[in-house]
Amino acid sequence: MAENRHSALGLNDEQILEMYKTMLLARRIDERMWLLNRSGKIPFVISCQGQEAAQVGASFALNREQDYVLPYYRDVGVVLTFGMTAKDLMLSAFAKSEDPSSGGRQMPGHFGQKKNRIVTGSSPVTTQVPHAVGIALAGKMEGKDLVTFVTFGEGSSNQGDFHEGANFAGVHKLPVIFMCENNKYAISVPIEKQLSCERVSDRAIGYGMPGVTVDGNDPLEVYKAVKEAADRGRRGEGPTLIETVSYRLTPHSSDDDDRSYRAPDEVAEAKTKDPIITFGAYLKEAGIMDDKLEKEINDEVMNIVNEATEYAENAPYAPPEYAMKHVYAEQ
């Protein structure tokens, strides 16, 4: 039997099965969206595939009753962990009026749900970083114990808003966890054309905060790093920059063809480290999951995805004139 790594982190068997199930749900929702896109039923999909371990591992390390998350467009695993449902995500994919993120106003991947403290996002990348700093500032002013968790890609770590936000959080010692999900590509541009430093986490020193790089395919390693960062934040010791290294297993989006800029061998190699497979293997080696349980979990997840798809496909669109609503507060 493999070494039990999760108990040392304070995670019991039930919790890591829940992590696995959430990762798998994120994957299966994503795969379904590609099928729906290719069959002409939804206009667009942008994937989480390959990043589920980082997203779910990190989110499990947060306090889901009080912390705020500011996800970027791939963070299906984050929003599922924070209370969004498969049905919610499918409603967004179909642009239906019940979509909690935007009522069908935004493309999929623009998550937001106030009741679960999932903060609304936009398409220009990295604008959410200063917002995370502002929420942490507000929490500090109000004497709350909350931390904010904000994610972005390695390409986005070049944006001014990353720098400005990280610096502000460093100066004011705010409880912000900056997590860069380094998937090695910003659409077609590889990391060596994005950064001249070796790691995104190398940038942390410039903001007076610790920076760590962890294996983004290992949810337990990510959990550990985020837990430590959250504890630091709650102790008043300020922000942390965490870089999770994984690989984008799909093209950038349903409108991209990655064969023009990366070799199939490279993708095939990355798939051997697919976190759904490797974490599943860990659960089996640790004696927590057998083939029978694996099948049961997959069946349960597929039922959730099927029900969500059917519900969302049949749900109504917002009426056309609804486009006029909610520009300003209603008088």
Binding site: S122, S123, T127, H131, G134, A136, G160, D161, H326, A329
Partner: protein, 327 residues
């Protein structure tokens, strides 16, 4: 009622709102110990402390973006841009974020932030300390843009902006800060955002303007009155969204309309005001709509000769009003 300056009305409004609501706070460059480069936040740091009067790093997108984050949480941030000219790095945060948060989240989230900035020329500020930037933001539904002309309006509108549940850009004319004084009550009052105000009633010509130019028009109106010409003066106060009803009423009243802005002429607020009048008042007009504005050059130069050439001033306003009256 006390007579105070335009900038003291800014400070008074912020202080009263901070005393009233612990969620109101100030952030920006030099707003704390120094009290702002123009002294708009003077005394607030001493009264409320560094937690609520925050000197930020010199980075405008963070000033706006961190403020937006705090507003998303439920605070009432007042972010200061040191000069309106320096708001440009924050445009993505203001337009892509603040303006769209309520709409894009289908009313789930909202962003009650006020972004204050001194604008306007006539202070030897040259290209980057003199500009009017309102037109950059004036086609962005979700934003409100307030540009008051008097200390009374400053206090009432700034308090309204702070209490507003949506983002408000509050542009203060920097030359008006100490030049313009007026009566301001000590008690609490708010004025409605989105409503223009008739600053002088008249019968012969209508002037529609905002900010410092309101005072130029009022001065000129006195001179014209001596010659038997009666001018009606409408102060827009909110330049986005515009008070269409008040604009139409003011234009129709005299049938002769002069629109004045200190901004460059083409694509200015007055272009939209002109379009509103053209759409609604064709049969009431007795003269072509006139516009007096800055020339279409990037911004006003430093040399006094060229700065004066750029700026609208009382003489130019008086001349334009007389020409319109004689049409």
């Amino acid at each position: 009622m006390a007579v105070i300056s335009y900038i003291d009305a800014v400070t008074m409004a912020i202080r009263e709102e901070m005393e009233r609501d612990s969620k109101v706070f100030v952030l920006g460059e030099d707003v704390g110990r120094k009290g702002g480069v123009f002294k708009a936040t003077q005394g607030l740091y001493e009264q409320f402390g560094e937690q609520r009067v925050i000197d930020t790093p010199l980075a405008e997108s963070a000033i706006a973006g961190v403020g937006i984050g705090a507003a998303l949480y439920g605070m009432r941030p007042i972010a200061e841009m040191q000069f309106a000219d320096f708001i440009m790095p924050a445009v993505n945060q203001i337009i892509s974020e603040a303006a769209r948060i309520r709409y894009r989240s289908n009313n789930d989230w909202n962003c009650p932030i006020v972004i204050r900035a001194p604008y306007g020329g006539g202070v030897h500020g040259a290209l980057y300390h003199s500009q009017s930037v309102e037109a950059v933001f004036a086609n962005q539904p979700g934003l409100k843009i307030v540009m008051p002309s008097t200390p009374y309006d400053v206090k009432g509108l700034l308090k309204a902006a702070i209490r507003d549940d949506d983002p408000v850009l509050f542009f203060e004319h920097k030359r008006a800060y100490r030049l313009i004084k007026g009566e301001v009550p000590n008690d609490d009052y708010v004025l409605p955002i989105g409503k223009a105000d008739v600053k002088r009633k008249g019968e012969d010509i209508t002037v529609i303007t905002y900010g410092l130019c309101v005072h130029f028009a009022l001065q000129a109106a006195e001179k014209l009155a001596a010659d038997g010409i009666s001018a009606h003066i409408l102060d827009l106060r909110t330049v986005y969204p515009l008070d269409k009803e008040a604009i139409i009423e003011a234009a129709a009243k005299t049938g002769k309309v002069l629109l004045i802005t200190e901004d460059n002429k083409e694509g200015s607020i007055m272009s939209e005001v002109s379009a509103i009048i053209a759409e609604h008042c064709l049969f009431e007009l007795d003269a072509p709509i006139q516009r007096l504005a800055g020339p279409d050059i990037p911004a006003m130069p430093y040399a006094p000769t060229m700065e004066k050439f750029f700026m609208v001033n009382p003489e130019k306003v008086e001349q334009a009003m007389r020409e319109l009256a004689e049409f």
